[in-house]
Amino acid sequence: MTFRHFLYLLPLLVFLGISIYFAIGLGKDPREIPSALIDKPVPQFELPLLVEDLPGLATADFGGEVAMVNVFASWCIPCRIEHPVITRLADEGILPVYGLNWKDEKEDARAWLNELGNSYTRIGWDLSGRVGIDWGVYGVPETYIVGKQGRIRYKHVGPISREALNETILPIIRELQAE
């Protein structure tokens, strides 16, 4: 191969080089937000109840067993999509699933739960979004798993699909429960 031929090949080689980076870049979760809170204790907070017959949510509710916190809002469409997955997980009783209702009007959130079903064991009502900030919530939906020592062990950003639940989240829950 002459130098001239190599020159003509060069654009292809450069592109292939770049696409390798693209491929690796895709493999890394682009939205993997390095949550500074991972492995840190649950922040100090106390949220009022949202629904009359369910308690609110506070720091004291964590510890002793593995628990899940699902951040949701009635105005969030992806939440509507993941809600059946969350509900089923809660109904199976593998672990307590707490709701954190974020930046929502009380009536809207209640109507939403009436329509779609409510299997949360506790729901904290965070109208101002302040507690959400302490948790490191960027948007809804987000889901946290809290370990037996009351430390945040895992954070899932975006709606939870059945695949994500079965392939990632359930194994983590089992692992944490075995600890």
Partner: protein
């Protein structure tokens, strides 16, 4: 029902595109005219089908059919009709559907206006377009179906992202996509030429109008986006070098280079492989831009799930389209022989320099855009590359480019006469000096670097006008004669003059906007006033009002100049009901030389944060852009482009075909 119809039309689109990409290609290889003739009708059918799909989605938005997931995620019953419609492409799925629609439209146009193309070339061009359509309609159907239903049906929708609820941004994506996708036509021509193994003057003449159309839309789209950022983001800035902007700017730089190098191919039958490469790269950068924006490798749109599947699919498309065409290039292009030789100082030399600078600029932008990704992949940490990098690398490249743009048109083909050109540009140089003097005097006390920008703009404007005067023999012979010559000039020549002049105006605008801006940020109570750049702003009142789907806080400022009331400005802050997001609507008062720009910020205890900017020459950016688009349109209307290549090119073309095979 309507949504399912759209979905079905989309499936048919994929089928038709498959046929369009295979049958004419095989026909062209076999010399089977009937198989080749299928390309045209297939392109029309494909367009009709995508139109049905797009119509179905638009209908779902217009009637607010919230059983469609796409509609419920991006629309709301309270939204004004304009934004219900623009919501169609204000989201991932819909925007890709628009992409496919525009691609199909270009296919039909090539089929319609390509009557003078040789049948094999036409068949191959349309087949390549078919392949691209297969890729993207499969992408839609497999990973981004816009017609997905949701059950139970929500009562109301999630609203369109409030930032997108704006007339400027409603039309920004279609413009930009018309530009991106328009480059696919040049790409298809390049790939077809590589398959045929021949590139000649006629080929360059066929490619040029398509590139020009794409370039016009890209220019308009980019400027519309920039204009939107200017008045909507509320910081008075107009360009932020963020990945999404860069994604549209890189294809523009390459398309500009391509427009210039295609002239060399047409007139001098040389720089062929280079031109082919540019045509491939231009569209490749559009695709990479789409990948970067849509896959979320660089930016993440939090409210919505990014799907790694989508990213993988687009990456696959990239590798097939770009990798495939570049491999074809490596294989076939070395056989293409260059034609005319030329001296370094010549029109060709100037255009080569233009191409080198423009492509270096594009590479610079690409590097700056991808650098964070490279570092992230190599686990070297997360960084962001901002304006300082681009100011230090991109801007210096523009200086020689503009200087050459002044000289270039004065040089003759093959062997230019630099001394002669300088002689003829003497008046232009003197005029430039005079303008620089005035600018320095006017801007005394402001940043001196700005004078360099003005010098550049003045040089380009004066040299362009001087070249035009020279061409029509102004000052030599009667004025009537000159006017007659001006009338007789080809439109493409008018186009060049107008476009270069427009660029000069833009440069002046950018200089003023980025270097001579005055800003003041302060807290103001009702009745208080502040002086900015010789204008006095008084906050008279702040009212709370209600829009169709948002609350408004509207401030009223009275602006006084020299003690007299100059104007009244009313900036707004909106809070949208559904997404609870706030947007700022800056109040802008535009005159020929400047913009007054006022933003109302957060209020607390009867005092509001206000940002007031004095933006000299900003209107020139938009005027200049308009002039450039106009110049492009003039050039597009050139008779030569419509009539096609004259016969005399047929002979060398045939000889080359024989030589390549």
């Amino acid at each position: 029902m309507i949504a399912e119809l759209g979905h079905f039309a989309l499936v048919l689109t994929l089928m038709v595109a498959l046929a369009q990409s295979i049958v004419p290609m095989v026909g062209a290889a076999r010399g089977d005219l009937r198989m080749m003739a299928m390309a045209g009708p297939a392109a029309s059918a494909q367009f009709a089908l995508v139109l049905v799909a797009f119509g179905a989605l638009t209908y779902s938005y217009v009637v607010s059919d919230f059983s469609v997931y796409n509609v419920v995620s991006n629309s709301n019953s309270l939204q004004p009709m304009l934004y219900k419609v623009s919501g169609v492409w204000g989201n991932h799925e819909g925007s890709i559907l628009l992409w496919v629609l525009i691609l199909a439209l270009y296919g039909v146009l090539v089929a319609m206006f390509g009557g003078n193309l040789p049948p094999t070339l036409k068949a191959r061009v349309l087949a390549v377009q078919g392949i691209i359509a297969v890729g993207f309609s499969a992408f839609l159907l497999l990973t981004s179906n816009p017609f997905e239903r949701v059950f139970p049906v929500p009562v109301d929708g999630n609203d369109l992202n409030p930032l997108l609820q704006d007339p400027g941004l409603a039309f920004h994506p279609p413009m930009l996509y018309a530009g991106y996708v328009g480059l696919s036509t040049a790409f298809s021509f390049a790939v077809a030429a590589l398959i045929e193994g021949k590139v000649d003057a006629a080929w360059a003449r066929w490619v040029r109008p398509w590139t020009l159309v794409a370039w016009i839309f890209l220019t308009a789209g980019i400027v519309l986006g920039s204009w939107w950022a200017y008045y909507e983001l509320g910081w008075g800035g107009f360009w932020f070098w963020d990945p999404v902007e860069n994604a549209s700017f890189m294809p523009w730089l390459v398309a500009t280079a391509l427009l210039h190098s295609a002239i060399v191919v047409e007139k001098r039958d040389t720089l062929k492989s280079w031109t082919i490469l540019l045509a491939i790269i231009g569209f490749s950068l559009s695709l990479i831009g789409t990948f970067l924006v849509r896959s979320g490798v660089l930016t993440s749109v939090h409210a919505f799930a990014t799907d790694p599947q989508r990213g993988l699919f687009i990456l696959l498309l990239l590798v097939v389209a770009i990798g495939g065409s570049l491999a074809l290039f490596a294989w076939r292009a070395p056989a293409m022989k260059g034609g005319g030789l030329f001296q370094p100082i010549s029109r060709e030399g100037g255009l080569v320099l233009n191409n080198l600078l423009l492509s270096t600029a594009a590479v610079t932008v690409l590097l700056g855009t991808l650098y964070p990704l490279f570092l992230d992949v190599l686990e070297l940490g997360k960084v962001s590359v901002g304006a300082p990098f681009f100011n230090a690398t991109f801007v210096p490249l523009m200086f020689p480019l503009i200087v050459v743009a002044g000289f270039g048109p004065m040089l003759a083909w093959k062997r230019g006469d630099l001394a002669g050109a300088l002689q003829r540009l003497k008046v232009a140089a003197l005029a430039t000096l005079a303008i620089v003097g005035v600018a320095a005097w006017l801007s005394w006390g402001l940043k001196a670097v700005g004078v360099a920008g003005i010098a550049l703009a003045a040089w380009l404007a004066c040299a362009t006008l001087a070249e035009f005067a020279n061409r029509i023999n102004l000052g030599r012979g009667s004025l009537f004669n000159s006017l007659r010559r001006a009338r007789g000039l080809p439109r493409s020549s008018w186009g060049m003059t107008v476009t270069h002049f427009g660029l000069a105006v833009i440069i002046a605008g950018i200089t003023g906007a980025s270097l001579w801006r005055t800003e003041a940020i302060q807290e103001m109570k009702i009745g208080e006033s502040v002086d900015v750049a010789g204008y006095n702003y008084t906050l008279d009142k702040v009212e709370n009002l209600r829009g169709p789907n948002y609350f408004v806080e509207r401030g009223t400022f009275t602006v006084r100049h020299d003690g007299k009331v100059y104007t009244v400005m009313e900036p707004e802050k909106r809070k949208y009901f559904v997404q609870q997001r706030e947007t700022t609507e800056a109040a802008i008062y535009t005159t020929f030389m400047k913009d007054l720009y006022v933003v109302l910020g957060d209020g607390k205890d009867g005092a509001w944060v206000t940002r007031i900017y004095h933006n000299p020459l900003v209107p020139w950016m938009w005027m200049g852009a308009l002039i450039m688009v106009l110049g492009g349109a003039l050039s597009l209307s050139d008779r030569r482009l419509r009539v096609g290549a004259p016969k005399r090119h047929a002979a060398p073309a045939m000889a080359q075909l024989a030589g390549a095979e």
